[in-house]
């Protein structure tokens, strides 16, 4: 359809949240200086961890591969700047549980020396073979920069025999405070659009929609100017209403196309691929400039810092450096959050490094995040069910999770919960609903693991039991054969090669024994019967 206004659909529920976007968009993007030390986690993506391929003491160039990843779902890790590897050890990484994981620590030399590590730009990339583009994006270690960090190349691999319906570019930055996509588009509209064209070339979709929240007017304007209108080259800029969580993959697909991703399924199941606008930008740099993913845009904001703004940051930079670039903490700072206030997680310290998935550092004050009162009983008001974008019944899920009735929770589709936090936000009883759902999911997963373990143990036991029995039988058989052979030898001394001959000999022996000797000989021959 080529009408200039795209027909929009609605997703269920959603929230109008205070946006807090103006604070961090007043000033232009600031590239921050190369820190003296970079801590680069080897696993910054969904999938297997990369394996370090450098040694402590080794000099590395900017863009040099420091972590290999051979698995299909995985991403390589590159040195964000030139310098010397000082250590490969466990350091705290950005993770909800605050765990430590293997990191490559680089002492930078400040020269930003690429050496030979910049890849060759791909010529005429808008007509290049999709396979070449896909491989380059994989080599560059690009993951989804919207926050989920799923390896981008995997999503760019079409299923055999499937024509892709629609490539959706997610520029709907729906969480409050976050503005890195907004500022990225404003400052690099050309590169972003080239990146989108590259993704389009790699996927060959029937259509390409850019979903962008309608309040991001400067970014929309920049895209329009660069594209030369609302729609050109099969790329369609579609402003969508600002309603949290419109930027959720499933919700965005629903708003733009009216279609739903099947439960437990992927967008590819309905012929769609969704990529973040930051991912498109990274793809451009990898394909057109040969640069792997070593830096990204990060919003530093909240009333906990003096000067909220957007920064161009090397992966591995400690968060404290970002805070310093935002002119430091205010006295009110109370909680440090990576990501947005609805789905982000709190960090235990600012020594933790920026990773590929870090879109926002929110320094919140107590007033911003403190619960307004004690947790009260659920009064089943149903506000949560009204707000739920997955159209679940959060109030019922809460009861089941609380009662540890996990079967019932699954019956009520617990696993369709996207943990967006809408239910907890509207709950008048201040119940931390999302925590209950996470708890229930984790319990179910661990039960599942236990069951699998038990299954394996049982299989092993049964196998061992069967093996022992088999051995026992084999042994008995061998013994019996030996005995028989021995008896045959004793009796007639002949070494008949053929079974029939032995049999005949045995018969003869038996007959002889029966005729001549005692009953003992009879019972001996009877013993042989069962083993035959």
């Amino acid at each position: 359809m080529s009408e200039s206004t795209h027909k929009l659909r609605h997703f269920h529920g959603g929230l109008q949240l205070p946006r807090h976007k103006e604070e961090s968009t007043r000033d232009p993007v600031l590239p921050i200086r190369v820190p003296s030390r970079l801590v680069v986690p080897l696993r910054q993506h969904i999938g297997e961890s990369a394996e370090a391929c450098v040694q402590p003491g080794e000099q590395v160039f900017k863009g040099q591969v420091i972590g290999h990843c051979d698995t299909y779902i995985g991403a390589a890790v590159h040195a964000p700047s030139s310098g010397r590897v000082v250590e490969i050890a466990d350091y705290p990484v950005p993770h909800p549980s605050g765990l430590s994981a293997p990191c490559v620590v680089i002492e930078t030399d400040g020269r930003e020396n690429w050496g030979e590590c910049r890849m060759a730009p791909i010529e005429d990339y808008l007509h290049a073979d999709p396979v070449i583009l896909r491989n380059r994006i994989r080599e560059a270690g690009i993951v989804g920069l919207g926050g989920a960090a799923f390896p981008a190349a995997v999503k760019l691999t079409p299923r055999p025999g499937q024509a892709l319906d629609c490539l959706i570019i997610n520029a709907a930055e729906c969480e409050p405070y976050i503005t890195c996509d907004d500022m990225l588009i404003r400052s690099h509209a050309n590169a972003v659009l080239e990146g989108i064209r590259i993704l389009k070339q790699a996927l060959q979709p029937r259509c390409c929609l850019i979903g962008i929240e309608d309040h991001m007017s400067a970014a929309i304007e920049a895209l329009r100017k660069t594209l030369g209108g609302d729609e050109a080259e099969g790329i369609h800029i579609v402003p969508i209403p600002s309603l949290y969580p419109a930027g959720g993959e499933r919700q965005l697909i629903q708003v733009l196309t009216g279609r739903e991703v099947p439960s437990q399924g992927l967008p590819a199941d309905i012929g769609m691929v969704c990529q973040n606008v930051g991912t498109a930008h990274a793809a451009y740099r990898a394909v057109a400039l040969g640069e792997p993913l070593v830096s990204r845009m990060v919003t530093v904001t909240g009333r906990g810092v003096h000067h909220p703004r957007n920064l161009e940051v090397l992966i591995g930079t400690p968060i404290s450096e970002l805070v310093a670039a935002a002119e430091g903490y205010t006295n009110e700072v109370y909680r440090l959050i990576m990501g947005g206030p609805m789905m982000g997680f709190a960090l235990p310290s600012d020594g933790i490094p920026v990773v590929k998935a870090t879109n926002c550092i929110l320094a919140a004050t107590e007033e911003d995040v403190a619960p307004p009162g004690p947790v009260m009983p659920c009064i089943r008001c149903g506000e949560c069910a009204v707000a739920c974008p997955a159209q679940l019944l959060p109030q019922q899920l809460y009861w089941f999770a609380r009662a540890k009735d996990f079967d019932k929770a699954q019956d009520y589709n617990l696993f369709d919960c996207i943990e967006c936090g809408c239910c907890a936000y509207v709950c008048p009883s201040n119940i931390p609903l999302v925590q209950y759902y996470r708890f229930a999911k984790n319990e179910i997963w661990s039960q599942e693991r236990e069951r699998q373990k038990a299954d394996i143990a049982r299989e092993r036991h049964e196998f061992r039991q069967a093996r022992l029995e088999q051995e026992e039988r084999d042994k008995a058989e061998r013994l019996a054969r030996k005995k028989a052979a021995l008896a045959a030898k004793q009796d007639d001394g002949a070494d008949d090669p053929k079974k029939a001959a032995i049999q005949a000999a045995l018969e003869r022996a038996k007959a002889k024994k029966a005729a001549q000797q005692t009953e003992q000989a009879n019972s001996e021959s009877a013993d042989k019967e069962p083993s035959r």
Binding site: C166, G339, V369, P371
Partner: protein, 353 residues
């Protein structure tokens, strides 16, 4: 620098239970004042007494259950329970009836089940049904509405009647009390009088009972305010009043002389109060959108059935309690279709080029 961590979301929620209940209380004010206007100071005294008793008993139960008293009282749910209970009482109900009713509402129907959020039945209605069944005489001591009453009670006289059972000299209970329009309609219909004859009675106003119709309007106003404040959704009130009107309308069209009009049913007794304020009690109602419609229709039809063929002139309390019982089952069968489950057939696709 180190920080304390906490699980998401990290945004201060927008509402709390106390605010919700306070809004319900504000919305009850116009109707309560109208009721006081038509039926005298006794209405207000009942409300104050019931609220004080409810809050007192709530505090006592919380103390005995070793629960935080002040934060829990701050949810104002006891105030709402006491207030709704009082609105169901005749204006000069003796104080001990209120005591017994509130006792059952707060102690038995609410706290013995585990307190706010755990009660399967609407506490105010449990209290009301208990006193209605236990003290039928006291619960029929309705006064005629203003304009028909021969004696207007001063606040002191009302206090005397409620607390000491004393009427001003020269008055007897029989002389001052009268039937409610619903009551009258029921008894007269049972004596085979026609509706048009019955409506000759001065108790009837333009389309319902005199006074009652205006009280209904004011509660309706409060209810609409609740809708706009998004304290309640439209499902239950529309389903209750809609099904009551449709059921009444069907019988009325069939025989307008033997069955009262839909307007009479909707604006009489506690129908509007019940539809907006009682049936919408979230704890004991159905909680799914479709379930709320089923639940409301059940209440509306039951109100009509009990009023018309049952033993009581008004039936909101019984209808609500009966549907409370059905709420969990209704919830089970009216779950919404979850995102991504059996998606509806694909319509014309707007995404294609």
């Amino acid at each position: 620098m180190h920080f304390r961590t906490q699980s998401s979301p990290h945004m201060t929620p927008a509402h709390n239970v106390g605010q919700v209940m306070l809004r319900v209380i504000y919305a009850l004010v116009p109707g309560t004042l109208a009721m006081t206007w038509y039926f005298g100071w006794g209405v207000l005294i009942n409300v104050v007494l019931a609220v004080l008793l409810a809050v007192g008993m709530e505090a006592l139960m919380l103390l005995m259950r070793k629960r935080p008293v002040i934060p829990t009282l701050g949810d104002y749910s006891a105030v709402v329970t006491g207030w709704l209970f009082a609105l169901a009482l005749p204006p000069l109900t003796p104080w001990w009836v209120t005591l017994v009713g509130i006792g059952f509402a707060i102690v038995v129907a609410k706290h013995l089940y585990g307190g706010l959020g755990y009660n399967p039945f609407n506490p105010a209605m449990v209290g009301y049904v208990v006193v209605l069944l236990s003290f039928p005489r006291e619960l029929t001591l309705w006064l005629p509405p203003m304009g028909l009453a021969e004696h207007n009670f001063t606040p002191l006289q009302a206090l005397g009647a409620i607390f000491l059972g004393q009427l001003p000299p020269g008055l007897t209970w029989d002389a001052i009390t009268t039937a409610t329009p619903l009551d009258l309609m029921k008894t007269e219909l049972s004596m085979n009088r026609t509706i048009s004859e019955i409506r000759e009675n001065p108790l009837f106003g333009d389309f319902s009972g005199r006074g009652w119709e205006w009280i209904g309007n004011w509660f309706l106003l409060g209810g609409i305010a609740l809708l706009f404040m998004r304290v309640i959704t439209w499902h239950i009130p529309v389903a209750v009043l809609g099904s009551l009107a449709v059921t009444a309308g069907a019988f009325w069209i069939f025989d307008p002389d033997a069955f009262a009009s839909p307007a009479f049913h909707v604006f009489s007794g506690a129908a509007i109060l019940g539809a907006f304020f009682i049936a919408t009690d979230p704890v004991s109602a159905s909680t799914t959108p479709r379930g709320r419609i089923v639940y409301g229709i059940g209440i509306g039809v039951l109100i009509y059935a009990i009023r018309t063929w049952g033993g009581y002139p008004d039936a909101v309390a019984f209808a609500v309690l009966l549907m409370n019982m059905a709420a969990p089952t209704i919830d089970h069968y009216t779950r919404p279709r979850v995102y991504g489950h059996n998606p509806p057939p694909r319509r014309g696709d707007g995404s294609g080029p």
